[in-house]
């Protein structure tokens, strides 16, 4: 029964993703993208990752919707072209289909869900993090210890990228307002 549920969710997600690409009106595309995000969030719940599901809902459905609405409020939204069907570039669509098939071909090589033997995730590094993280970093949450201590420079780089992007967006928006 849970497999059927996952299948239904996947149908919903794929359909809404296709509709996001096909709809001509940007506001309708934003709405259907919100639906996509909600479906994705439920799939995370079914896969027992409620924290990822929460992030997906907050970022995908909450922040992205508002951000995209603000961006079309600051620019222009074309209306009256909804009825004209979108022109699909079949060459690009075929290329995307091939890419999807190539990605799908790697799926059988993944270890099963919950499999601990022969799964590279549960190897030596996993044991090292679980047993040594508190001793080496004195951070009680292992995930936080990995993010800010073991991979500290990586996280610093990510923060730099996000900060730079934020400054760039603010600069562009300020220029739009002044002009």
């Amino acid at each position: 029964m849970i497999t059927l549920l996952e299948a239904g969710l996947l149908v919903f997600i794929v359909l809404s993703a296709l509709m996001t690409a096909i709809l001509r009106d940007v506001l309708a595309a934003i709405i259907v993208f919100g639906a996509y995000s909600l479906g994705m969030a439920v799939l995370w719940i079914v896969l027992r990752a409620p924290d990822v599901g929460l992030t997906e809902a907050a970022v995908g459905a909450g922040i992205m919707t508002v951000l995209l609405l603000v961006s079309i409020a600051r620019t222009t939204r074309l209306t009256g072209i909804e009825l004209r069907p979108v022109e699909i570039n079949w060459g690009v669509a075929a290329l995307c289909g091939l890419f999807v098939l190539a990605i799908l071909a790697t799926v059988p090589a993944l270890p099963d869900m919950g499999q601990t033997v022969g799964n590279p995730v549960f190897g030596e590094i996993y044991n090292h993090y679980v047993t040594m993280a508190y001793e080496q970093t004195h951070v009680e949450n292992v995930v936080t210890a990995i993010l800010v201590a073991y991979r500290g420079f990586d996280t610093l780089g990510e923060a730099t990228v996000v900060f730079t992007a934020g400054v760039a967006v603010l600069t562009v928006l300020r220029r739009e307002v002044d002009a």
């Binding site: 029964m1 849970i2 059927l4 549920l5 239904g8 969710l9 149908v11 919903f12 359909l15 809404s16 509709m19 709809l23 506001l27 309708a28 934003i30 709405i31 259907v32 919100g34 639906a35 909600l38 479906g39 969030a41 439920v42 719940i45 079914v46 027992r48 409620p50 599901g53 929460l54 809902a57 907050a58 459905a61 909450g62 919707t65 508002v66 609405l69 603000v70 409020a73 909804e82």
Partner: protein, 93 residues
């Protein structure tokens, strides 16, 4: 996870709500007005809350109910933001 007929019924109910959401995508696609789409999205969001609650019961993981609460709040925010945008072009929140 609880086994047996109760769990199956809960999952079947969740599947029914997912099916309704797929049908609602048709309403979002066809429209014709933006209000139809906003309300359809709102119903999808409500369906999502119900599905998560059913899953929480079927899998015996009450922690999922917190996620359902957050979704209910976000669903409200999303509908308000889009509705306000359609009523007064330029205002979002």
């Amino acid at each position: 996870m609880i086994e047996g007929p109760v769990s199956t019924i809960l999952f079947a109910g969740a599947l029914g709500f997912v099916t309704i959401s797929i049908v609602l995508l048709g309403r979002i696609l066809v429209g014709p007005t933006m209000q139809d789409r906003v309300i359809a999205l709102n119903v999808v969001g409500s369906n999502v809350v119900v599905v998560i609650a059913l899953l929480a019961a079927a899998m015996e993981l009450p922690a999922f109910l917190d996620v359902a609460l957050v979704y209910a709040l976000l669903n409200f925010l999303m509908s308000i933001a889009i509705s306000k945008f359609t009523v007064e072009q330029g205002g979002v929140l």
